[in-house]
Symmetry: D2
Subunit: 340 residues, 4 copies
Amino acid sequence: MKFNCDYMEGVHPQILKRLVETNLEQTAGYGNDPYCASAKKKILEACECPDGEVHFLVGGTQTNATVIAALLHSYDGVIAAETGHVNVHEAGAIEYTGHKVLTLPQKDGKINAESVGSYLKWFYSDENHEHMVQPGMVYLTHPTEYGTLYTARELEEIHKVCQEYQIPLFVDGARLGYGLAAEDTDVTLPVLARSCDVFYIGGTKVGAFCGEAVVIPKKGLIPKFFTTIKQHGALLAKGRLIGIQFDTLFTDHLYLDISRHAIVKAEKLKKALVEKGYTLYLDSPTNQQFVLMENRKKNELLEKVDFDFFENYDDTHTVMRFVTSWATREEDLDRLIEIL
Amino acid sequence: MKFNCDYMEGVHPQILKRLVETNLEQTAGYGNDPYCASAKKKILEACECPDGEVHFLVGGTQTNATVIAALLHSYDGVIAAETGHVNVHEAGAIEYTGHKVLTLPQKDGKINAESVGSYLKWFYSDENHEHMVQPGMVYLTHPTEYGTLYTARELEEIHKVCQEYQIPLFVDGARLGYGLAAEDTDVTLPVLARSCDVFYIGGTKVGAFCGEAVVIPKKGLIPKFFTTIKQHGALLAKGRLIGIQFDTLFTDHLYLDISRHAIVKAEKLKKALVEKGYTLYLDSPTNQQFVLMENRKKNELLEKVDFDFFENYDDTHTVMRFVTSWATREEDLDRLIEIL
Amino acid sequence: MKFNCDYMEGVHPQILKRLVETNLEQTAGYGNDPYCASAKKKILEACECPDGEVHFLVGGTQTNATVIAALLHSYDGVIAAETGHVNVHEAGAIEYTGHKVLTLPQKDGKINAESVGSYLKWFYSDENHEHMVQPGMVYLTHPTEYGTLYTARELEEIHKVCQEYQIPLFVDGARLGYGLAAEDTDVTLPVLARSCDVFYIGGTKVGAFCGEAVVIPKKGLIPKFFTTIKQHGALLAKGRLIGIQFDTLFTDHLYLDISRHAIVKAEKLKKALVEKGYTLYLDSPTNQQFVLMENRKKNELLEKVDFDFFENYDDTHTVMRFVTSWATREEDLDRLIEIL
Amino acid sequence: MKFNCDYMEGVHPQILKRLVETNLEQTAGYGNDPYCASAKKKILEACECPDGEVHFLVGGTQTNATVIAALLHSYDGVIAAETGHVNVHEAGAIEYTGHKVLTLPQKDGKINAESVGSYLKWFYSDENHEHMVQPGMVYLTHPTEYGTLYTARELEEIHKVCQEYQIPLFVDGARLGYGLAAEDTDVTLPVLARSCDVFYIGGTKVGAFCGEAVVIPKKGLIPKFFTTIKQHGALLAKGRLIGIQFDTLFTDHLYLDISRHAIVKAEKLKKALVEKGYTLYLDSPTNQQFVLMENRKKNELLEKVDFDFFENYDDTHTVMRFVTSWATREEDLDRLIEIL
């Protein structure tokens, strides 16, 4: 019984069923198959931007590096929260493409229109800054690394600043489903399609074996992106594997439904944690719950259930992470709550 | 009915069965799961180098770029046949990592110890060559882009030259199965493990959805390769997808058996082509068969069956490619032969 | 007495005089000084493109790498003759910036509109080529590595092909002076400014300590080029060093006059070589003369005078190079002719 | 009269004299001339490491990027103060080579053994950090961007930590002369040669037109560095320009003497500033003096004398910078003090 992360099981049973059914069909490679075409159409419909583009890549770090490198000029860097995944846990994949991550301070994993705007204003206030890396785009994660969410208004405000300075806004949605399915959020796929220039819908962490769907609401924003994807080694030869998965996820709201499943479980866990007197490190409305624990308690629990180290808090306390997913079983959750 | 390439179907049914069976098990991410561990062990055993290392990456271009960049110093280039996949069809993925492809002339897709040795001798004959890209490794494909094969002796001779100049030899085995299963070849996995410094066993084109198994016979040759794989965006979060596939492929000789299936089909096709008076462009012992055709004939056939354009020969002739695979059905082949 | 190359002395005496006169003046750094401003103005006037831009970089390889990287998208490569300097003697500086050099066959160091056009036509004839490096620009050297020259018409024809495919034409003029001053050439600075998108006027090999003047006839072609130059480590802090040198070279036609000096010497040498029965390897109208020599003769001469190895011809013959320059003294040339 | 920086004049008169004297001599290119050889010998003697290596590059940003890229594996980043030149004012030159700058907090521009050690200890405390950029070296500036200096002991302690983790220590000495000539410092060239793995002796800011001398105390630390320098476009064709300058600077202690000149002037200025009631932003023992000024006062002064903006302090105050150099004239300094 593990609550470490949301990519511990295989694939949602519906997807597996489709993979089995289609297995011996012959289709063209590199995403030129009918499943990819169908999936792209459904995704664009869900995003209410039928004239946009969708591209399928394999994993999150790869998608971030490929999209960011494709959006930036060689003299540009990417603005991100100092806790942004691209700045911390991608082994320098962004820098490997030649670009600096320009970090801004964060609160609960988020940056905001004010800090982005101040940075850009300061940057353009002095021509000596032409000796510095140019701010070429803004990168957000939604949900953030702390499980928190932007509001539609916050996204729109950041986007407005980006537009003022003519730089694109890119949203990393590796866990997007769990953000869309959260309670009280007003961020939907159409909101995202209107509020940013590129974003991706994470498959790996939301029921797929692998695959991230990059959505470019305005067609043509990134010329020759196919070749760029190939150049980054991010083009799957048997592209239909991703196509079939996303086609299934975007049929009958499966993507939202299975994300909702994780949220219901996470909310139940959160309630139990609070009732049992645990200290939430922050208030996360998504499938990741962060708990500040005494190390003694942490070690005691770890003997009974697997969950994740997040960060050291002080000499005697640690921030730990519990993660639910599309696959979390009610009985496992109940056992966890019992153990807690 | 398509004979275009060997990645048109899903996955070998045995693999699908294992994916279904294991689907809801919880395992650790990033390849730290028991299936990856088991697959690695079986691969090393098959290669008779139990102390070596295996790393799983997702696709071929990615594997080439990651391994080559990991093996080279920044001032090095990679020696390859001018027809080598890294030089032609990878959208500049190698150059994107900062390295030049140093091309040698080829015959039937192959280079040889003599030409490699001459190049290296010439390079080190003049100290002015320090203004040039240093030859830092040798890259071969086996089978080559033309479906041809090296002999064990040819590999060993090239390796000997590499050792003399202290540069590694890397063999791209995207279609390795079809090479190992060819008739009359003396190249086996243990031969490869002895004759080169790094090679990979292709999964994508030999029955898997995706996945390439990089074998490093001498442990430690590439330090911190895990981080490098991550940096290249080549680390699959749900690594078990590749682990389960290779674990299945390396159980009960499945990898060889299904490759052999393709060879039997290809030999039958080759025989039929010759009997019907077609001109083979070259003699390929593997699953790709190249035929020199009059354009009129080519267009006529393309109305009845899908196969692949390879290259223009002259104004009235084209080199076309027929590919068999683990999934080729006898009845389809018979229909193809009838059409021919 | 050396005839190896054209960068063996210090600086033209006129330049030295200006450096001495201005030495203790205080000026702003990074090229923001009055000498750079004046030099840029004079260069643009000489090029008859007063609205263009000039940027000063330090050396040739650096200039090639910086300009090419600035002109290309990340998915692009640069078309060049297989003998082009960027392909051979720059230690992979172009690939280090992530770009492939796409080579075309050459004749006497030159490529032509036909071969460029055929390549581009072929490239865009098949959509499968999106798996390949995109041809993003054309690179020429004028004079070439073999001392040969394009005609104005040849440049214009290549440019026309480039315009048809909307890619820029870049001319490496590391030895441009010796091309402009050649007999019977119709390529002038205004011709260059009209026939290509970017070119540079070499200082290092034509009388300066260092410095190359990049001319962009149409202002704005390369946005934020200052930052790109800085990023490449190609921005001289004491930019005036280059400014003063080019300001002097472009006062009273000094650049052309001193180049003409080298041509007069080269023509005299060529005449002597022919009269004495030497075999010219090719007919060079510029300051580099290539002679095909028996190795015995070559070794005999090398005991008496320094000149340069160019390439092995066969087991008993070598192509050797004699180079004149702005600094070649009549008495040394006479002695060389005597020795020959 | 300008006190903005230390690269506003040409070259020290002694150097100019040598350039004039040697101007028409013929020497080999790319640093293979007797002046480079002599300069290297003198530098190694001054550093008391006769068996070391010296390489000449042209400018500071270029030297940092070239050395850092040469020292790091592709998966490594460079540890630096958040105010380090490589992190701020080099237009992303380090990231352009593919490497992340891993920043540590600074005090007066310095980092220390403790913070470096803690970072490295933390990094290696958790194997999950293999998803992060590996710390591959430490970069310091001496003097720092704030004009401050490390003590010999501080350098040795940082070096000890580096050795413990087997990563090199690199010291950027763009203004090294002004550090060596400071009062009360115990850091000498031999101390540097013992306490770090690579450092460079800045020429551009200490009396030369251009040129930085990279010292590698232990020969062979960076293989094929010549080719790497070429690849980075950092190899000067007419290398003697740098050779002659450094040969002069390292004859009869000229480098130290002219640096001392700047220090004497800076100390006089500092004394005057304090006496006149100005607030020093920090206590700099070198040629850069930082003053915290009311904006009104600042603007008043800028009408009479040129000096440099450093950073905004608050809405009404600014940190300004006065810089002396080898070229600062007593009469100008007196006039400045009068104006203050």
